[in-house]
Structures are given as structure tokens and as C-alpha cells.
């Protein structure tokens, strides 16, 4: 068996029809997909959230809810969550131990990886979404969807993507709505036969590029080889993607009307842009094009995304973070946080009103949104929202504070990442530096 045929059969396992196509289909079809999908979506924004002290005049502009007796009440920031309360938990008191000692806002890179920062030569490790993609990726046309408002990979400590491969290589985030739509739903050109021929050609081409590339590799020194291996890995990955496309060739891409999403939005209008990105993730899930998505909604030093809050008349996110303690600072940062929550609430609500199985789409979709600072330069007590996934055993409507009143008593963020992966049947013995699972979140 040559390498190419091996690839084909390796990715050819357990092919299933797109989930919702089945739902819409006949009874026999529905019976065939008794098992509901398990989805995962993570969203990140930098520079922390508004965290005024409990006695502060502007407490109501804080991210974290206000505790009232046995219960709690959302602040202005999370007002939009009120109708969705039973689907949502707010989480405080988690942080990555590896991120606690490092520069002010430099922790977006490790939000989903928990990797240890080793100075200038920092190399990341696999992100939790890619572990899930490895397990579930073969079931869908795309193993995962990696989005970013700034696009690309950025640089270590200033990454513009949340997702990292098994070897810690950043996966570029897609930022252009039209490009994302075309990848997911575009027909491309040509008939099935033409596409089959094209994919066949590409498959041989990549195979031969791989072979010929080995001889060049021998001529390179050690340092060059490390770089060169990124290229070789990319060739290998794209070979697999071509093989996967060949498997999916006879299954048409889901039909989604271009008009159902506003693809002409520009990042100059951040609220509309962010909503489009949420719509694209929703459509990708709804059509079962993928079950795993990450979205770096905003990145530290992101040329584009740092203007988001500014375009809303609030100053850059960096200024909002640093100005939090100044007069009127918390309400300003809180207003920005409120915009973020409103966007997320819209996304969650869409999934909550989309029926799936006996419940709704959100019950089969875990959504994590947050940031990895609380106050300026304080890499503790991440402001987090965790929603959905009740079919995977989560219970919501709660506000959890995991630390014991002291920043240094934070629980590892990896405990949450592990819990999510564990409930998704991806891992059962811990993720990175996790020390246990968060049973409090579960039924």
C-alpha cells in the first residue's frame, strides 16, 4: 500500500452524513444518528474585564455577578444573559499557573493550552480544541474552524489565534467573512468529475512534493531544518485535507444562502463584524460542517481588533484596561464588556432556539468565553463565562468562585479545560497541569 492510499483509508473511517441533513431527512435517517453531536467553541478577548471591588460605586459595571444571599444577580454587563440564565455559568477563580508570573497581558497564547512560558524561545503546546478535533474531526468536512478578528498567527506572546497543533505550531485564524463562507459553503467551480480530477492531481502533486522535499532537507543545517519541517508538516496536513475532500466529494456542501449572513461587514463596524463571525460559527455547527471552533475575537496588540472598543467610542482596549481605576474607568470598560456579552448572548440564543434531539443545539455545544487577566496586569482570576453542553452533563444557572479569596489560591484553568474535554470523551486522565475536574459544574 503506498502512502497515498494509506492516507485515504486512514481518514476514511466512520464517515457520516451531515447531522442536520439527517434531522431533516427520513425516520430511518434520524434513527441512524441517534447519537447527538458533541461540540466545542472557545472565544477569547484580551486585557481583562472590568473588575471593581465589591464596595465600589461602579460595582454594577463589573463582569462578575453580585452575590445576594444564596443567589446572585447579573450586573449591567451581563444583563443580556437573563433570559438564558439556565444555560450559563459565570466562573471566577481560575488561572493558568504558568501564566501567573509573566508579562502584563501576554497570556492569550496559552488560554487553551496552559503551556509553560520559557522566555524568548517560548514554544506552545497543543490547544484543547485541537485535541477534540483530533477525536471528532473525521466526522465532519472540516476538523475544526479557527477564526480571528486580526487573522493569521501573530507572534509568540501576541498570538492572533487560539489554536495550536500537536507540535505547538499556531494555526492561522481566518478573518474574512467571505473567505470563511466560501471555505464552508462555497461550491467552488466545476462538476464533481472535474473536482475529482483536480483533487486526484493535487494528491499526486503533494505526494511528489513531499518526496522531492526530502532531498532538499538533507542539504540543510539543523536550524534550517526546524523551519523546513514546518513546511513538510504543512504538506502532510494538506495531503490529508485533500484526501478528506476526496472522501467528501460525493456529498455536496450544505446549501446556505449567501444572503443569510452579512458577508460585506467590515471590522470598522465591530458589533456587526463580530455578529457575522458568530453567525458563521452557528452555520458551521448547524450544517455539521465542523464541531469544533475557536475565535480570537480580539488579540493583544491586534492592529484590527484593538480598535473595536475605540470604534464604539470607548478608547482602545489597552487604554480601557489601564484606565479602569481612573474616574469613570470601570463603567467604560464595563460598557465594552457589555458589548462582548451581548454578542455572545445572541450566539447562545440562536443555538438555544434551534431544536436538536429532545432539546436544543446549545445543549450539545459547550461554549467558553473569557480573558486571561482580571485587573490590569493581574493574570489571576480569569473572567470566564461557560455555557451550554447540558447533554454532556453540565448544569448551569450558577456563579462559581473557585479561589479561596486569594489570587494565589486560584485553581488551575486546565481543570476547566480538562473537564470540558473529559465530558466530551476526549481525555480521562488530565490536561496539561490540571489537578482534577470541576465537579461543581456538573450534574
Amino acid at each position: 500500500m503506498n502512502r497515498r492510499t494509506f492516507l485515504r483509508s486512514a481518514t476514511g473511517v466512520a464517515m457520516s452524513l451531515p447531522f442536520l441533513d439527517c434531522m431533516r431527512g427520513t425516520a430511518t435517517c434520524a434513527a441512524a444518528s441517534k447519537e447527538l453531536p458533541k461540540r466545542l467553541c472557545s472565544i477569547f478577548f484580551p486585557y481583562g474585564a472590568s473588575v471593581p471591588g465589591d464596595d465600589h460605586d461602579d460595582r454594577d459595571w463589573g463582569w462578575f455577578p453580585v452575590i445576594e444571599g444564596d443567589s446572585f444577580r447579573y450586573t449591567k454587563v451581563m444583563e443580556a444573559f437573563n433570559p438564558l440564565r439556565e444555560h450559563i455559568s459565570v466562573i471566577g477563580g481560575l488561572s493558568h499557573p504558568t501564566g501567573r508570573g509573566i508579562g502584563g497581558h501576554d497570556t492569550g497564547d496559552i488560554f487553551l493550552t496552559g503551556a509553560s512560558f520559557g522566555g524568548a524561545n517560548f514554544k506552545n503546546t497543543v490547544s484543547m480544541d485541537q485535541l477534540a478535533a483530533e477525536k471528532y474531526g473525521d466526522l465532519t468536512r472540516f476538523s475544526s474552524l479557527v477564526l480571528s478578528s486580526d487573522g493569521g498567527i501573530g507572534m509568540p506572546t501576541r498570538s492572533k489565534t487560539l489554536s495550536f497543533t500537536q507540535s505547538g505550531q499556531p494555526i492561522p485564524g481566518l478573518d474574512k467573512p467571505q473567505q470563511i463562507f466560501d471555505r464552508l459553503f462555497g461550491d467552488g467551480t466545476g462538476t464533481v468529475e472535474e473536482n475529482r480530477r483536480r483533487l486526484g492531481t493535487e494528491s499526486s502533486m503533494l505526494d511528489m512534493v513531499m518526496d522531492q522535499s526530502q532531498s532538499l532537507r538533507k542539504k540543510l543545517g539543523k536550524q534550517d531544518r526546524e523551519k523546513y519541517d514546518e513546511y513538510l508538516t504543512s504538506v502532510r496536513d494538506i495531503e490529508q485535507r485533500v484526501a478528506r475532500s476526496q472522501e467528501w466529494l460525493d456529498i455536496p456542501k450544505p446549501k446556505v444562502e449567501e444572503g443569510s449572513v452579512d458577508l460585506a461587514v467590515s471590522t470598522d463596524a465591530p458589533i456587526e463584524y463580530i455578529n457575522t463571525m458568530y453567525d458563521l460559527m452557528y452555520l458551521a455547527f448547524q450544517t455539521d460542517s465542523t464541531r469544533i471552533a475557536t475565535y480570537m475575537l480580539s488579540a493583544m496588540n491586534g492592529n484590527v481588533s484593538n480598535q473595536f472598543s475605540k470604534a464604539l467610542g470607548l478608547g482602545s482596549q489597552h487604554e480601557l484596561a489601564h484606565g479602569a481605576g481612573k474616574p469613570g474607568g470601570f463603567p467604560r470598560q464595563g460598557e465594552w464588556n457589555q458589548c462582548l456579552i451581548n454578542g455572545l448572548a445572541g450566539f447562545l440564543n440562536k443555538m438555544a432556539v434551534t431544536p436538536e434531539g429532545d432539546g436544543c443545539m446549545l445543549d450539545n455545544t459547550m461554549v467558553l468565553m473569557g480573558t486571561s487577566n482580571s485587573r490590569t496586569h493581574n493574570n489571576h482570576n480569569y473572567p470566564l463565562v461557560f455555557a451550554g453542553g447540558s447533554n454532556m452533563g453540565f448544569k448551569h444557572g450558577q456563579y462559581h468562585i473557585f479561589n479561596e479569596g486569594d489570587d494565589d489560591k486560584d485553581k488551575p484553568m486546565s481543570n476547566l479545560l480538562f473537564t470540558m474535554l473529559n465530558r466530551m470523551d476526549v481525555l480521562d486522565d488530565g490536561f496539561n497541569d490540571s489537578t482534577g475536574d470541576l465537579s461543581e459544574l456538573q450534574v
Partner: protein
């Protein structure tokens, strides 16, 4: 007390201060472990963290001193943080003096900095680098002979810690990126190589201004006297979506006294959904022609670039837009837009106080070819549409010729055969020869030999001289951001390019070519971080008179300034201070400098009252390093240290507490006073006493780069008051440099730079230019080479083209 951190935004990797090279600091005495550090640890720490007690499991008297790979790197980091915070020793124990604490902090910081540098080091070899996004786009256009947007789907590049995008070690590769390289190649080849018959030719001609919409006339546009903001439209109802397009405009100008010439921009296409006009075709042109002698102007492009969605019947056909973009920054443009928005039903006469572009006729031709098949086809398939009997032999020769250009050197037999065997495999799948050929050529375009600037270096063999072809590539990507042309390749073939005299001649030739504009734009953008202008949004509540349209001119000023110094053999010390700057009308109006009209940048002599000259008082720097509401003295300081002196400060330590806004009277203080409070805390002061004095003297320049003597301060609201109040406070722009020099205001800062920092600046510029030329960061091993180049630079009266020649003929550039 909690302290405010006015924290610069710059990469963490910039921690790796390159001050090890900078003349000033290299001489500074660094404390040693044995004589100074160990005794202090013994005195203050070892009681609790020593052989007897190890509180918290920490013992500091036997820590591993290897900061590069040692086991205690993290512990040293923790110690540094605790020292910064003043958390250790605990309050009830004996405290080190400020000087003692500083010794510890300095020693640990330097060890860490050096270790980071060593960890990143490649022994001066650099690493394999691929083309940047813009280099790829230029190269594809040159190689295929068709200008398309090849890079549109590629992820954006990031800059290295020293500010450059062409640094191999930070450039990534991913499967998605490779997928888009393949798509771009297939797309490019589908256009560059043509099938069969020549496509139909389309043409249109008009002498009257069309209207954009079909349902009603545009109220103010349908005149041929085009005032600034207005356009002349041509409509073509039957049109193709691909092919070369030529627009010819016959026009003259009417220029009122004291105004500049109208500037003409031609755009093609219109997205009716967003009203966005298509991209520009060709370059903008200032029109001086008179009614007696009207000018004929030609613009060339390709239709593939432009949006032509025609989905609503209100905007039928394909539109060409001849726009007068003259802009003095005044109200004329706004008033014009207002008139359009208010849907004036009646035609208004164009504004007589503004320069008009009088359009006499516009013609449009699509799909005109000098020959068929076109040159871009026969440059690759040299037999044109003919396919010889022996297809395989022809394919082999085509590949050989193409690969010589694509790989920037003749391919080896093995390399040609690799591609040829792929061609043979797929040939039977395709009915047409040309389709199989397109696939084979696509394979060349995703090969590492094309995407990367390969300079093989065998493991353990050390450095070697570059081959002629490798030198030609380095040179071409340095000065043109694209592949070498035929002349460079032929000089590479006969190895003449390795001679210094030939290299110098080539540098001069290349700098005179239009492609050198890419070097000027890319280098100045990356060196001076001109992109910063895009990151700052000026708050209109603070600057109601500010006109966003001036921002592009700010970037152009710095680029044109660099260009002026380069092409006129001026001293690079003009970057520190100069008696001229580059202005056009809109920017001159913004600065309040009179007598400049028109959109073109030109050198303008400066008077003392203009308070300009040099880079640090250019708006690109002042605005780019502001918050959009106020100046940002620390960002400005860090910019000077990083960009002009190549001496970036370490980033602030983690977990440094914020300044307490509850400090009595804090909000009412001037920024300088706030910073002084900040500096009083030793944790911040150690570094900030070296940083702040570089930014404070520029406090007289506000967030839009204009001179001020008073600045707005926020007054905290009192209980019961609804909002914060603002008040004006006098600006204090004086500060003391770390070496004791008093500096008051921008002019004194420039004088200080010129008298005290000329050497450091010239070395920094040598380093920046070399870093860009080499596509890698400089390292310890490059120190001597930099020193030699700096000496030559000084000897050459700081002339940039001499410096470029010196770099290109240096061992640094010619070896790997």
C-alpha cells in the same frame, strides 16, 4: 501604595534588550555575582532561604547560575518580581537600601537578557526564510507577467522583536497557507496561460458625464468640470469580468490662484451593495494641462481586481470613475459630500475656489492585446499556441526555463525530472496539454525552492560564501522586494555579481528603478512602525477640528523624507534634526505652514517657529504614539529608544501594582507629575528614569501632533456630580536624562540627540538596515561587522546609498 503603570505596548521579546551592543551601556559596569550579588543574598535572604531554613521550599545560596538552560531560571524570575514589588524581604526584616536592591535587579535582568539572546542565537547564520506576503505577491506578478492579487488569502505577517516582517525565524507556514499558495498558483496560471481564441474586445467612449444610478440622475455629479470630491463617470452596459483594461482620459485643469493642481484617480467597478468604488487603476496623476493643450492620460490594470457586482437594477453596467481627489483638508470636500447626501435636485456649479479637473473625454478598452497569444503566455509556453509533436520534450524545456526564473537559479536535472515525472503522471488525465502543464507549473510554485530563499548550509560546516545566484536573490529582495531580473541573473551566472564594483553599480541601478519604491515604503514602514498611525483613532470629542483625511499624508511625509535623504545624498543625521521636511498642502495646513499647495509631497524649508525637523516631530511618530486623546510620552520614549537608538527598554515586570487613583489630587496633576509619582516607587523608577526623559520633552505635541502649551486634564467627579470635569494645565516639557543632562522641549531633545547620541544613532541605523537586508536579527557574532559598517558610514558623511553599498559588499551580506 499602588502605582500607575503607563505601559508601553511592545513585544515581550523586546525584553531582549540589545543594549549589549550600544556603546553607552556596554561600558556600564555590571555587578558580578561573587563580589556584589552573593553577599547581598547572604545578608538579606539566606537566613530564611539558606542551608538552615528553606521557607516555602526556596533556597537562594546555591541557585544554578546558568540562566540559559539551568534548573533555577524560574526561581531567578520570581526573585526579580519580588524585588520589584518590594515584597521580599518581608516588612519586619532588615531591608536592602535602594542601591543594594538595584544591584540585584540589574544583575538578574542582565543575566536574563543575555540568556534570552543566547537561546535565540543562530550563530549569525539566520534561518531559512520564505518570501513575505508582499514579496510573494510581487514575485508572482513578475514571474507570471500578470498583476493579480495573489496574496489576498494569505495570513498577515507579523514583525520580529526588532520590528521587521522579513525575519525568517518569525515567519510561519501552515497547511492552510500552503493550500492558498496552491490556489493562487492555479488561478494565476489559468490567467497567464491562455486557451484558444482571442477574447472579444470591448470598448466604450464618452464626452459626457454619465450618472451612477439608472433610476434618477445624480444631483451634483453630471458636469464635466470635476471639483474635488466629484467624479466623472463612464458606463459600459455589455462587459466582461476578466482581462486587461486600459482607460484613457483627455483632460485639463482649472487652477485658482494659490491652489495646487487637481489630482486625478481612476477607479473601475462599483459595489452597489456598499457603494464602494473599485480599486485604482494605475497611479494618481496631478493634472497641470491647460485648456489650450489638454493632456491625454493612460491608466492600465486588470478587471479581475475590481468589484463589479451588478445585482441591483439601479446601478446597471460597469462603471469607470475619474475622480478629482485634490484635498487641502478644508471644508470643500465635506460640503461637497453634504450636497450629495442631501440629494440636491438641481445641478450646482462647481466650487470656483477649488481646482477643477475638466474631463473632455474618457475611453475604456478591455481585452486589447498587442499579440495573441499575449506575451505573458509566450514567456512561459514559448511556442505560443502550437504544441510540438514531442510533448514531453517540450514540457521539459518549458519547465527548465520556468524553474530557472522561479528558483532564481538554474534547476538541477533531478529537480526538473521530479516535476516532469509529475507532469507525465497527470498528462493522461487531462485532454489538453496546457491543463497538464498548468498543474506541473503549479507544483513548481508550491515547491520550497520557490517559496523559500534557500541558502543550503550543511550541518557542522560553518559559514560559507554565497553563490552568485544567492547574492542576486538577496539583493533583489532587499531593494526590490521581488525576484531578480534578467540582468541580475546573468551577472549571477557569470559570477560577476560577486565583485564589489559590480555590486555597487547594481545598487545604483536598482535604486533608480521604480521597483525601489517598495524598499523605501517597506523599510520606512517597518523601521519607523508607520502602521502605528492605523492603530490610533483620534477622538473627535478632544479634537473636533481634526480631519482624518490628513492621516495618509503623515505616513507619506516620513516615507518621502527617507526618499529625499536617500536620493539627494543628504546626511542621515537629518533624521535627528533637519531644516526641511516633506509636505503637501493638506499636511502643511494641518501643521500651519503656509505656501504649500497641491497633493504632491515636496521638500519645504523650515523656520524655527514651525517647530518641526527630523523624525521625532513628524506627525507619524507623534500621532502613532499617542492615545488618540492625549500624548503618550512613554510610547514616544520607547519609540525613540527602539527605533532611533536600538536600545529598547525591558518590559515592565509582571504583576506590578497599578497607581492608586485615590492618591490625593492625582487626577489634577500634569502627566509629568503623575509620572514623577510613578518614578518615586523604586520598583518602577529604576527603568523609568531611563525612559521618561525621552518622552517628556515632546509633551508640547498633542495627540494629533500639533504644538500646545496647555493640556487638558481630567478632574475626578465629586460625589453627586454626574460627570468628570476637564481643565487646562500648563505643559511642562523638561526632564533630566539619566546622564544628568537637562532637556526642555523637543528642540533641546534634538540638540541632545545630535550632540550626545550621533554615534549610537548611526550604529542603530546600520543595524536596522542590515537586519532588513539580511532578513534576520543581528547577533553577538555580527558585532565586528556592524562596527566596521558604522565606521564607514561615518566616513561617508552618513549617506544612505553609501551605507547600502557597504552593507551589500560586506561579508555579512555575502556569506552565510
Amino acid at each position: 501604595m499602588r502605582l500607575l503603570i503607563l505601559r508601553p505596548i511592545y513585544p515581550l521579546a523586546a525584553t531582549v534588550a540589545l543594549f549589549l551592543w550600544s556603546g553607552q551601556l556596554a561600558n556600564a559596569r555590571t555587578p558580578t555575582y561573587e563580589n556584589e550579588v552573593a553577599p547581598l543574598l547572604n545578608k538579606y535572604c539566606v537566613d530564611c532561604h539558606g542551608p538552615d531554613k528553606q521557607k516555602n521550599d526556596v533556597r537562594v545560596d546555591n541557585l544554578d547560575l546558568d540562566f540559559v538552560g539551568g534548573r533555577d531560571r524560574e526561581t531567578w524570575h520570581d526573585i526579580l518580581d519580588l524585588l520589584h514589588l518590594g515584597d521580599m524581604p518581608p516588612e519586619d526584616e532588615a531591608q536592602p537600601s535602594d542601591e543594594e536592591r538595584q544591584i540585584l535587579v540589574e544583575w538578574i535582568t542582565e543575566e536574563m537578557t543575555e540568556a534570552a539572546e543566547i537561546r535565540r542565537s543562530t550563530n549569525g547564520l539566520g534561518v531559512l526564510r520564505r518570501m513575505t506576503r508582499y514579496e510573494y505577491n510581487n514575485t508572482m506578478s513578475d514571474l507570471l507577467g500578470v498583476e493579480l492579487d495573489y496574496a489576498t488569502n494569505l495570513p498577515p505577517e507579523t514583525a520580529s522583536h526588532d520590528g521587521f516582517q522579513n525575519n525568517g525565524s518569525v515567519m510561519g507556514m501552515s497547511s492552510m497557507q500552503l493550500e492558498y499558495y496552491l490556489k493562487a498558483a492555479q488561478y494565476g496560471l489559468s490567467v497567464a496561460l491562455v486557451d484558444g481564441e482571442q477574447p472579444k474586445r470591448y470598448e466604450a467612449f464618452t464626452t459626457t458625464n454619465a450618472t451612477r444610478r439608472a433610476d434618477r440622475p445624480d444631483p451634483v455629479t453630471n458636469t464635466s468640470k470635476i471639483q474635488p470630491g466629484n467624479s466623472f463617470w463612464l458606463r459600459m452596459m455589455d462587459y466582461p469580468t476578466t482581462g486587461p483594461v486600459t482607460v484613457k482620459v483627455k483632460a485639463h485643469a482649472v487652477i485658482p490662484e494659490g491652489k495646487g493642481p487637481p489630482r486625478m484617480r481612476v477607479r473601475v467597478g462599483l459595489r452597489p451593495d456598499t457603494y464602494v468604488t473599485g480599486g485604482s487603476v494605475g497611479e494618481d496623476i496631478d493634472v497641470w494641462a491647460t485648456e489650450d493643450e489638454p493632456g491625454l492620460f493612460e491608466f492600465n490594470g486588470r478587471l479581475e481586481h475590481y468589484p463589479m457586482l451588478s445585482v441591483t437594477p439601479n446601478f446597471p453596467g460597469f462603471l469607470v470613475n475619474v475622480h478629482n481627489i485634490y484635498d487641502d483638508g478644508g471644508e470643500a470636500m465635506d460640503i461637497f459630500r453634504l450636497r450629495i447626501n442631501e440629494q440636491y435636485r438641481e445641478l450646482n456649479d462647481p466650487d470656483p475656489e477649488q481646482p477643477w479637473l475638466v474631463v473632455e473625454s474618457v475611453s475604456l478598452v478591455v481585452n486589447e492585446f498587442e499579440a495573441w497569444p499575449p506575451k505573458h503566455h509566450t514567456d512561459i509556453l514559448y511556442k505560443g499556441l502550437e504544441i510540438p509533436k514531442n510533448e514531453t520534450a517540450y514540457a521539459k524545456e518549458v519547465l527548465k526555463r520556468f524553474m530557472t526564473k522561479a528558483y532564481r537559479r538554474p534547476p538541477t536535472k533531478g529537480e526538473v525530472n521530479d516535476i516532469l515525472s509529475f507532469y507525465k503522471e497527470v498528462r493522461p488525465v487531462y485532454p489538453e496539454f496546457i491543463d497538464a502543464m498548468r498543474q506541473a507549473l503549479s507544483m513548481v510554485l508550491i515547491s520550497p525552492q520557490f517559496l523559500y530563499l534557500v541558502e543550503p548550509l550543511e550541518e557542522g560546516k560553518g559559514t560559507r560564501k554565497l553563490t552568485g545566484y544567492e547574492v542576486a536573490s538577496r539583493l533583489s529582495y532587499f531593494l526590490w522586494s521581488t525576484m531578480p531580473d534578467e540582468e541580475l541573473l546573468s551577472l549571477a551566472k557569470n559570477k560577476k555579481i560577486l565583485r564589489a564594483s559590480v555590486l555597487r553599480k547594481q545598487v545604483q541601478r536598482m535604486l533608480q528603478a521604480p521597483k525601489a519604491k517598495r524598499f523605501i515604503e517597506q523599510f520606512t514602514d517597518q523601521w519607523l512602525d508607520l502602521q502605528a498611525l492605523e492603530r490610533v483613532a483620534v477622538n473627535p470629542q478632544f479634537y473636533p477640528d481634526f480631519n482624518e483625511r490628513v492621516v495618509p499624508a503623515m505616513r507619506e511625509e516620513s516615507q518621502a523624507f527617507f526618499s529625499e535623504i536617500l536620493y539627494n545624498d543628504l546626511s542621515a543625521l537629518n533624521f535627528l534634526d533637519s531644516d526641511f521636511t516633506m509636505l503637501n498642502e493638506i499636511l502643511a495646513n494641518h501643521y500651519g505652514i503656509e505656501g504649500v499647495s497641491g497633493n504632491a509631497m515636496r521638500p519645504v524649508p523650515l523656520l524655527p517657529e514651525h517647530r518641526r525637523g527630523g523624525l521625532i516631530t513628524q506627525a507619524s511618530m507623534l500621532v502613532g504614539n499617542s492615545t488618540g486623546e492625549d500624548s503618550h510620552p512613554i510610547d514616544r520614549a520607547v519609540w525613540i529608544l527602539e527605533r532611533l537608538l536600538d536600545d529598547p527598554p525591558s518590559p515592565p515586570p509582571a504583576n506590578v501594582p497599578s497607581l492608586d487613583p485615590e492618591t490625593p489630587g492625582f487626577a489634577q496633576m500634569t502627566l509629568k507629575q503623575q509620572l514623577e509619582i510613578h518614578r518615586m516607587d523604586p520598583a518602577c523608577g529604576d527603568c523609568h528614569k531611563n525612559i521618561d526623559p525621552w518622552g517628556i520633552p515632546l509633551e508640547n505635541f498633542d495627540a494629533v501632533g500639533l504644538f500646545r502649551s496647555e493640556a487638558v486634564r481630567l478632574v475626578a467627579k465629586k460625589k453627586g456630580q454626574a460627570r468628570n470635569k476637564q481643565e487646562l494645565a500648563a505643559v511642562d516639557a523638561s526632564d533630566m536624562m539619566a546622564d544628568g543632562h537637562e532637556v526642555n522641549g523637543a528642540e533641546e531633545l534634538k540638540a541632545y540627540l545630535l550632540s550626545e547620541k550621533t554615534d549610537q544613532f548611526s550604529e542603530a541605523l546600520v543595524r536596522k538596515l542590515s537586519t532588513y537586508a539580511l532578513g534576520r536579527s543581528l547577533e553577538f557574532t555580527d558585532r565586528d561587522a556592524v562596527e566596521r559598517l558604522t565606521k564607514e558610514f561615518k566616513k561617508d558623511d552618513y549617506r544612505l546609498d553609501d551605507l547600502i553599498e557597504s552593507i551589500v559588499t560586506s561579508k555579512l551580506f555575502l556569506t552565510r
